[in-house]
Symmetry: C2
Subunit: 409 residues, 2 copies
């Protein structure tokens, strides 16, 4: 007898929320001996265990400490941390006040909130293709259509995007454009200033917000910082409160993801709406974690961590690029990132990277993310994402050699 | 010249997400000398500062500790905490496995997820009236209609609910029923076993899930525990995996809200969907906080905390009931809760509790939540919620005396 379990009628959106490959792959992190180039996982060797322990002890001592650390707190976030982030945004060319900042549970929650705030079912979200898988997951819960922006000379005009999005019966329209301009997830590529200006032009022509996912931007190994989209728009519009760029920041890649602290920097009007979403969604980010994060970044500590992380991940990137050059057959090509965690590979058209992953796990004890997962349109079957952030340099060499062996056979 | 700031077109749902009175009232907690009967705020005197500090130090030491505590983790939650909760559910009459549990950022996120999973715009959510304000905020983001369930003899039949919800053009229907069966927020009232069985009957007749918000159920001062709706349905349906009751638990009222740890216990099929929502919404709850919460509740520590909290809040409830009896004019009536944080007051029809709040703050330095905030239909203008959880007993006496003075004048 087959047991049939009762199930409710799920909301229409549940049909868009499927199990992800990244999720299944994260489970492989525990598999003995596996060399994982999969998740965008920071190296725990950089985690500030001792400083965090000390910061928790301090946050939980004193008469006022525990009261605020373990109590409910305001939805917009811990005021000293918001002020620190506002000051930090000046280093990204943005003159922000604490009121321009809302604390989120990592960048993933920021993506969820922006989908929730901006997408009515049937609206169109403009994305690069490929783009961050987690953004597709967050946005898809709000039932958008997707259309592809390119920053190159083949870019379409605003009119063609608006026409494609328009649906007279429902009033659907382009709701926003989303980009990862620096060391992109998944390609590792960085937009030039001209490309950034072109994206801003498009956002103005369409009269929509431009979402700037800045998760990796602090981790530049070489070359000069590009201006943030938000800084460019503050210049163009006159001020942050006039800007249409919504900036998503996180401490997950530079300090540690386990505290779940990220932020959104935007005009006060938009932040006020986001604070209401935060309240309805989970009231507030963990108070004690916000206090601890503030202690971990204040007084030059953030800058010191970033400097260390840059050197650390640069060596790993170099190890990966060296191994790719040494072992990969000539039919395989890849990007050369100037920062961040990712290299993007193209393998011959005939190779399915999803099939390759199965062989890689079974025959080589190596993992990566197949490129199709980053394409809203199902393309990219001969692409894959490699992250060099987690494995040791020696394992990067071994893992790439094994992967190249599968591609050379 | 009036400055006009650029604003995006917000999603349709944004019109349903307004600033809440609770939010504004939480700001009053910092006002010097105010006696607040407003938020459902636990008394920080009960917070385990020292034990938490020790638990953070332990979680962050050792070779494996920091790696898992500060790293990304699985979306369903920290396995030892899920197992602890599964065992805990046995004390609530529910035989659960770890796979029946998903960790959320407090109960508020559980409410958000259940709205997200179950509500298509136009669907009807059945609620008691009044009900928890935060549930209305969470659900409203998913654009439902609301209809009122009563557990008394005037209860309507399933057919009348289904007919009211049906909207042929969109396929709208009753999506779920939501109740706080023990020491309800906001009324402090507890459902009898007969009333619980009646609610289950209704959920079966409508073939919908029944959401059991159990935020306060551990804090019983006197009388016997009522069976949980989930336990009743496990008996009726045969097992938790066959059950249509979705149980929402939290450590916010019994341990501390600042770690933001709650849970949902439900059938595996429903939990699997919720894990996908967790991943899309914020990836995972803070790893370090989950490890620390496990240490704060394991080995009998939860039961010891609950025993202390019961005695503590019972004294405060007694102080409030004593003060109400002593000072309130005869035209004012109130509920007598057997547990939890709240007493619900009815004042004469001619009195607006929203107007009373303004006077209470200005003239008496006392705060509470006007009852209208808990009514989806705008009713309840002559009701108000008093929480006795936060103020000292002496302040409860003073605050109720002052409030009674305003009502007697």
């Amino acid at each position: 007898m087959v047991m049939t379990y009762w199930q409710p009628n799920y909301a229409r959106r549940a049909g868009r929320m499927k199990a992800s490959e990244i999720r299944e792959l994260l489970k492989l992190l525990d598999r003995p001996g596996i060399i994982s180039f999969a998740g965008g996982i920071p190296d725990p060797k950089l985690f500030p265990e001792a400083e965090a322990a000390q910061a928790y002890v301090e946050a939980l001592s004193g008469s006022n400490g525990a009261t605020s650390a373990l109590q409910y707190s305001v939805s917009e976030g811990y005021a000293p941390l918001r002020r620190w982030i506002a000051n930090h945004m000046a280093t990204r060319g943005v003159h922000a006040e604490a009121d321009n900042i809302v604390i989120t549970s990592g960048s993933q929650q920021a993506l969820d909130f922006l989908g929730k705030l901006l997408l009515t079912p049937g609206d169109t979200a403009l994305l690069t293709t490929p783009t961050y898988l987690g953004a597709l997951q967050a946005f898809s819960a709000y039932e958008p259509n997707y259309d592809t922006i390119s920053s190159g000379p083949t870019n379409r005009s605003a009119v063609t995007y608006a026409e494609a999005a328009a649906h007279a019966a429902t009033g659907a329209r382009v709701a926003f454009a989303y980009v990862v301009p620096d060391f992109a997830n998944p390609t590792g590529e960085t937009l030039s200033e001209d490309e950034r200006s072109g994206l801003l032009d498009l956002a103005y022509d369409l009269d929509v917000p431009l979402l700037e996912d800045s998760a990796y931007s602090a981790l530049r190994f070489e070359g000069n910082d590009q201006p943030t989209l938000q800084a460019l728009d503050c210049r163009r519009s006159g001020s942050l409160d006039q800007s249409r760029v919504i900036y998503l920041g996180t401490f997950s890649k530079t300090v540690a993801p386990g505290l779940r602290i990220g932020w959104i920097c935007a005009s006060r009007a938009i932040v006020n709406h986001l604070v209401l979403l935060k309240q309805a969604s989970d009231l507030n980010a963990s108070g004690v974690n916000q206090i601890v994060m503030h202690r971990l970044v204040d007084g030059g500590r953030y800058e010191a961590r970033v400097a260390t992380a840059r050197g650390h991940y640069r060596q790993k990137r170099d190890a990966m690029l060296r191994a790719l050059s040494t072992y990969m057959p000539s039919a395989v090509s890849w990007t050369v990132p100037q920062g961040g965690f990712f290299v993007w590979l193209k393998v011959p058209e005939a190779v399915s990277s999803a099939e390759l992953l199965k062989r890689a796990i079974d025959e080589a004890n190596v993992a990566f993310v197949p490129g199709q997962a980053f394409h809203h349109d199902g393309a990219g079957s001969n692409t894959l994402r490699l992250s060099y952030s987690l494995p040791a340099e020696s394992d990067i060499d071994i893992g790439i050699k094994r992967l190249a062996g599968l591609l050379s056979a």
